[in-house]
Symmetry: C2
Subunit: 349 residues, 2 copies
């Protein structure tokens, strides 16, 4: 591999990238000392450190962490897998993870599945090949092979956004079903009786089907009709699909008093569609969402929804991860952490 004018960098130096040895030679020290100089809390004399820093700058050297992690057996990153980056609930969780990782020397490697467990399996494998020090997943539904890989990986695994019946390792989440039940109860207490539900078609979105389950359970318990369920579109369902779904719902059950939606996005679509048709919300029909996205607090009328501590889920998951990784002399963190949710009542109900 002596080929050289191959890097094709616009300008700047040509040739192979400098290694730690190049730096060491230039600074007149051994590679080991360079390695130490690049690490916090190592004993390197001030003069030497300065020479090394200078050599690094002159050469434009950048540490090769992949080589380092092979040797130190620490890759310095954790993996997180979320359904979609294009959903602010999950990206809030990702922010929570990043923030909690700040200062731990760990970096986040993010992947997204588009709500597909098959894609999740691929991602799990791709991630594990890079030897993360821990992995955070969304939900408790995995392929059998994905699950097996996680169990055998020998790293802490955290499932989030859910309360799986049979967790792989640790969990930070809440019961989506219970949250929806609470919403139904809150609204029933206000006098609503004829509830409709708008969600996606398949069981692909496990959180979605749990929400639907909660909807049905709560109504049955209250002795109210629980059959007004519209399944529309492949999850995650969009604003536009929410709009279309509410139309179907009103055609089929014109006297529906309140439409609960699997997420704020579809709820928003429904809300706008109702206004477009000249219906008054909440007088003609009430609408509530799930997730407390930015849009729920800002639309007109402002929307009732379930607030979920998305950011906190990420933060706590990452915290639990770093605690486990660092061994935490004292004790292992709790296996299961339940996060808060609450009904946010606004003008749309």
């Amino acid at each position: 591999m002596t080929k050289t004018a191959d890097g094709k960098m616009g300008d700047g130096k040509t040739g192979e990238a400098p290694t730690m040895n190049d730096v060491a030679r230039r600074a007149g020290v051994s590679a080991m000392t360079v390695s130490r100089a690049l690490k916090e809390g190592s004993h390197v004399s001030k003069a030497t450190r300065e020479r090394i820093t200078q050599a690094i700058n002159e050469l434009g050297y950048v540490l090769d962490q992949s080589a380092g992690s092979l040797s130190s057996r620490r890759t310095g990153f954790v993996a997180a897998i979320i359904p979609s980056i294009n959903n602010s609930n999950f990206s809030d969780t990702a922010r929570g993870i990043t923030d909690a990782l700040e200062g731990t020397g760990l970096q986040l490697l993010l992947g997204y599945t588009n709500y597909s467990v098959e894609r999740e399996e691929e991602l799990i494998e791709a991630m594990l090949r890079r030897r993360p020090e821990g992995i955070i997943l969304t939900g408790g539904a995995h392929t059998p092979r994905g699950r097996r890989m996680l169990e055998q990986a020998g790293i802490p695994v955290i499932e989030t956004w859910d309360t799986p019946a049979d967790p792989i390792d640790k969990v930070v989440g809440f019961s989506n079903g219970a949250a929806m039940e609470l919403l139904v109860e809150t609204l029933a207490a206000k006098g609503y009786e004829r509830f409709g539900y708008i969600g996606g078609t398949t069981a692909r979105d496990t959180r979605g089907s749990q929400r639907r389950g909660g909807f049905v359970r709560a109504l049955e318990r209250l002795g109210l009709p629980s059959d007004r369920v519209i399944s529309f579109g492949v999850p995650p369902i969009s604003m536009e699909q929410g709009a279309q779904a509410v139309v179907s719902m009103l055609e089929r059950w014109p006297d529906t008093q309140v439409a609960l939606c699997v997420s704020d996005l579809s709820a928003f679509g429904a809300l706008m569609e109702c206004q477009r048709r000249g219906m008054k919300v909440p007088d003609d029909i009430a609408i509530a969402g799930f997730g407390d996205y930015e849009i729920a607090a800002c639309c007109h009328p402002r929307m009732t929804t379930i607030n979920v501590d998305c950011y906190g889920i990420g933060r706590q998951a990452a915290l639990k991860l770093t605690q486990t990784i660092q061994g935490m002399a004292t004790e292992e963190p709790e296996r299961i952490t339940l996060t808060d949710f609450r009904v946010v009542e606004r003008e749309s109900t």
Copy 2:
């Protein structure tokens, strides 16, 4: 390193993770053959491959790619740095990248800066330490040190979402200023004369300030007043800030006919706020956004905006990257690719 009961995995096997040598021993072949069996297009006999596959399954072996890439000098990933994952424009770009990478054996490592160039610099360094085979950035504004690192990295660098005056390497983007000019011209042609602009305060968001620049330029060219500019909040400005900004604007210049916003999100906030105050859009005031987010097509009234090919930016950036990486015997791809944008006229103007 004989310590063993240390992995602390919930259940499953204990002990060190199996290596390729363990697999090789179990399958009765050499490690090299295992390595070949794990790679497409290598000559391994069917019988051997089966034995190896079986051994892999029995041991639960997962390839250690970080060791592999040290040896092969190919890490198999590309880095992308975006301002925010919580913004569907950029996450669409990320999707475009992922999709274009599909089947190339390259994986995406995503980082986000929260619109901070300092954070970008940190991320660039963190990424380069892992030796990506290429890197995709958002915008052309970097710290001097960040820029230097990119220039010296010896890998293809693609700046996107912008048309930097002095690109580092390759570019896939569009002129944010020109796009805003086009929007102003389109609306001026409909007869609007008193334009206002709502955006963030600082120059931190370079795309935002270019849009503002385009707004001013177009109005000056048309001989219309260009001073109705509200700067509100640190970019990226939220829906809520858009709502507050439009209030300031109407207090200061009550006869404003049309409010252009730095993004659909702030435009949406403004739109809702106007309705809350009983103003009719577009009769009392027209509103337009930028970005053509999902919300623009779905809100009521539907919003006029600039559609930008976010997904295409990602796709083309990744394509250009893989072409460069693979050498493309024939020729280097174009240095600069301009992507499309267009005005989408809807009911809000």
